[in-house]
């Protein structure tokens, strides 16, 4: 379909030769060599810590390689800065957004552009790009009021405004609905057809299969293979990436569930501020051993739901949340943990863990009561260290030990640690939000397995995610959250991807309307 428009005479758009980068104690990139052709969509695959981020940072000029050569359109790139990279036509959408919270969308985009435009002209161009690619974003909103998904849109628009010749995309689709992903892919295919090369980093192998023509696989800083993702299976690519066989999530579809563990009824919260999303009249039941999935696009009340369940936002009615038959709707987060409800919020740094604290101190934060890590107003450092070491061991967290600072761990490893910290407490109900956001396939599989084991042992799991693959693989029952309202929960087998997508987009509950929308969609595609 989108074969690169290239002749043998044309030099590669980007060519890396023997790129090596040494950090204290880690060889991040070891003689990395590969080339991206003009107009090619090229995947960079690898686990967290495989050296992908370091590599793209060097391409984008944030860091300089220790040795090796980079050529762009045949010209050697040296002593580059991000500015120089942009001048050459290299755009980048970061995994961790480089946004300024207190500034507006417009100001954020202006900062990423080197050409000086008046705000009026810039706004006009932004609206042009938004229209062209079917994205919605208000240029005058302050970033701190935006959801994760909207923030990512800023990054994408910022990169597209540069008319890039090489676009680096680091995990760009994690927060989009299937329709939005498809729309983004159309944008990328269109860009590629116009001759722009795309270096696409993702852990979603489906997407790489659907989108990319070539994949370079990194492991431990080295290139371990190159393949055509269209000729590979997801499994074969994942195995190349982690260098070992994958274990499937084996979950018995027909198992029966126990007593209701968590019953939520008429749960509502007020919006935090004028831009926040309130949740309204949420109700669902999760039984022992059951996975309850909540799908939805970022910023539709997921955070409010997590905070209401965890107890961070005070409830108004004790009976709105029943845990094992006991009303807990008015209890504090600590009291809810003691009662048996643990929570993993979406944000790893600063919410689930404190990055300046050691791992053992981080266990004390949420596990002190259930695991007896503190008592009588005093900490039990030895117990905390032991517990942290247990989490590190059982969840194969790559860390120097319980004394390592949380911020020193890669995203996937920290997430494994946080999940382990909660799962090993054996809560009756575990609420998790985005458990595998930005986590590589190996770590994601480990997290999924641990969740399945927890449920098999009789816990109820509430899984709030924007990753549909994850939801479909794990959930027994599924509901979709949109503008703070939850659709009627139904067994996951009764849903089609399209229907979930439509519910995420706000077509609620009414089967007739859903069918009509589906038909309209089909008519469009035909």
């Amino acid at each position: 379909m989108n074969e690169p428009i290239t002749s043998d005479a044309a030099p590669p758009r980007l060519e890396l030769q023997g790129i090596t980068k040494q950090f204290p104690g880690v060889l991040a990139n070891d003689r990395v060599t590969f080339a991206v052709k003009p107009g090619e969509i090229h995947a960079l695959l690898g686990e967290n810590g495989a050296g992908k981020s370091t590599l793209v940072k060097m391409i984008y000029g944030i860091m300089a390689p220790d040795s090796g050569a980079m050529r762009f359109d045949g010209e050697v790139m040296e002593n580059t800065s991000p500015r120089a990279a942009r001048r050459r036509g290299i755009g980048m959408v970061f995994q961790h957004f480089s946004l300024f919270e207190a500034l507006s969308v417009l100001e954020n985009i202006a900062l990423g552009l080197d050409e000086k435009l008046s705000h009026q002209r810039l706004e006009a161009r932004i609206r042009e790009v938004l229209d062209q690619y079917g994205l919605t974003l208000d240029p005058h909103r302050i970033v701190s009021t935006l959801s994760v998904g909207e923030r990512q849109r800023i990054e994408i628009v910022r990169a597209l405004l540069l008319n890039p010749r090489l676009l680096i995309m680091d995990e760009p689709t994690s927060v989009l609905t299937p329709q939005e992903v498809e729309a983004l892919f159309e944008v990328l295919r269109q860009l590629a057809a116009e001759g722009c090369s795309i270096l696409y980093i993702s852990h979603k192998l489906d997407e790489i299969k659907a989108l990319c023509q070539t994949a370079t696989i990194l492991r431990g800083g080295q290139v371990v293979g190159e393949c055509d993702p269209r000729q590979e299976t997801k499994r074969s690519m994942a195995e190349k990436m982690i260098g070992a066989g994958l274990r499937d999530v084996d979950k018995d579809r027909n198992r029966s569930f126990g007593e209701p563990r968590l019953v939520v009824k008429g749960l509502s919260t007020r919006a935090e501020d004028e831009f926040g999303v309130a949740i309204t009249d949420i109700g669902f039941t999760v039984r022992a051993g059951e996975f309850f999935g909540v799908a939805g696009v970022a910023g539709n009340g997921q955070n409010a739901l997590v905070e209401a369940l965890s107890g961070e936002v005070a409830g108004t009615s004790a009976e709105a949340i029943m845990l094992n038959g006991e009303p807990i709707g008015l209890l504090s987060p600590s009291a809810r943990r003691r009662a048996g409800l643990c929570t993993v919020p979406e944000e790893r740094n600063g919410h689930a863990a404190i990055s300046d604290f050691t791992l053992s101190d981080n266990t004390v934060l949420t596990a002190r009561d259930r695991m007896h890590l503190a008592g009588g107003g005093l900490l039990r450092p030895a117990a905390a260290r032991d517990y942290a070491a247990r989490v590190i061991g059982e969840f194969s967290v790559k860390a120097l030990g319980p004394g390592a600072v949380a911020g020193a761990l890669s995203g996937g490893n920290l997430q494994k640690f946080i999940m382990g910290r909660e799962i090993l407490q054996r809560p009756d109900v575990l609420v998790v939000s985005q458990p595998t956001w930005g986590v590589d396939a190996g770590a994601a599989a480990a997290i999924h397995r641990a969740l399945v084991e927890l449920a098999a042992a009789g816990s109820a799991v509430v899984l709030i995610s924007q990753d549909l693959d994850e939801l479909l693989a794990l959930s027994d029952t599924l509901a979709v959250i949109n503008l703070g309202r939850l659709s009627d929960p139904r067994p996951v087998s009764e849903f089609s991807i399209e229907e979930i997508g439509l519910l995420m987009g706000g077509v609620h509950g009414d089967p007739e309307a859903t069918r009509e929308m589906t038909e309209v969609l089909h008519a469009h595609q035909a």
């Binding site: 944030i62 480089s98 300024f100 202006a110 900062l111």
Partner: protein, 309 residues
């Protein structure tokens, strides 16, 4: 209150407010770039003594002001090297700068104690500048008018220009600014130098505009009030202007209360003197109640920037 008294109060008020306004404007720019320089008092004193000396030796208050600006900026560069290049703690370094400025000005100013200086007076014709009523508009030192220009200039710089946007971005998220490719440390050096120059001019106001002689420690804690004022104004130049005059008014009332005259007897002078601080605490409470992210401090304020990669 008679018109004469009102005019006298306004003129005292403007005089008392101008140094605070200069120093606070400078500090606002510094803090917007993410740096907390607590050495304002020290830079003001350095500017004051150098401004006095140069004016005394050359007879030109204009040269004195320029020299004061350079002296303040030079003092601020000590702070900049230690905190920005060597990544030392900004609070401790700022306090040290104040101690340094206090000592330096006392030592250097010793030679000028008791020597008279001509005030930096209005440049308008005497018919306007000393007119019993019109002097309320035309009777001030050029520095007063300059301070108003600087309020507009700083607002315009921060809100309407690209360098201003970059400066705010650096103060908001230094790592992101760095990864986009802006020179975080250079921007902060420039901001700190500007803050030092403004504090120097603010300090020079004391011998050139207020009391035409050298007195040790003549700024009397105005640098601290300027720091409080930046918080009070929620990092906005126009609120800073209003705040400086409010704080100046309180300072004026303190003087009148001390002189045991006028309608300001109702409160003892010590209480008037503490008003700016009470007001700052009150404003901080109000800001946190309103929880408007727009009025909060720059996110990177006081944090050293160490690029990880």
């Amino acid at each position: 209150m008679s018109i004469e008294l009102t005019i006298a109060i306004i003129i005292t008020l403007v005089g008392a407010s101008t140094p605070i306004l200069f120093a606070a404007l400078g500090e606002l720019v510094v803090e917007k770039s993410g740096v907390l320089n607590l050495g304002v008092e020290g830079m003001m004193l350095t500017g004051a003594v150098v401004g006095f000396a140069v004016t005394f030796e050359t007879g030109s208050p204009w040269l004195g002001v320029v020299a004061a600006a350079f002296a303040g900026a030079a003092a601020s560069m000590i702070f900049a090297v230690v905190t920005l290049t060597l990544s030392a703690n900004q609070v401790a370094t700022g306090l040290a700068l104040t101690i340094f400025g206090t000592g330096f000005s006392a030592l250097f100013g010793k030679a000028y104690t008791g020597k008279p200086l001509a005030l930096f007076r209005s440049v308008f014709p005497p018919e306007l500048a000393t007119h019993p009523y019109l002097k309320v508009i035309f009777g001030y030192s050029p520095l007063v008018y300059f301070s108003f220009i600087m309020v507009v200039a700083v607002w315009w710089l921060l809100r309407r220009t690209r360098p201003g946007l970059i400066l705010r971005a650096v103060g908001e998220n230094d790592l992101s600014a760095h990864s986009i490719g802006y020179p975080v440390i250079a921007v902060r050096y420039a901001a700190v130098a500007f803050g030092g120059a403004m504090a120097g001019i603010g300090g020079a106001c004391f011998p050139l505009v207020l009391t035409p002689q050298w007195v040790e420690g003549l700024t009397a804690g105005r640098g601290w009030i300027a720091l409080a004022l930046v918080v009070f104004a929620a990092w906005r130049p126009y609120r800073l202007l209003a705040g400086a005059y409010l704080f100046g008014l309180v300072g004026t009332m303190e003087l009148y209360a001390k002189a045991a005259g006028g309608p300001f007897r109702i409160l003892p002078s010590e209480l008037w003197a503490s008003m700016p601080y009470l007001a700052t605490i009150l404003v901080l409470v109000l800001i946190s109640i309103r929880r408007n992210s727009n009025t909060s401090a720059p996110a990177c304020l006081g944090k050293p920037f160490v690029p990880t990669s």
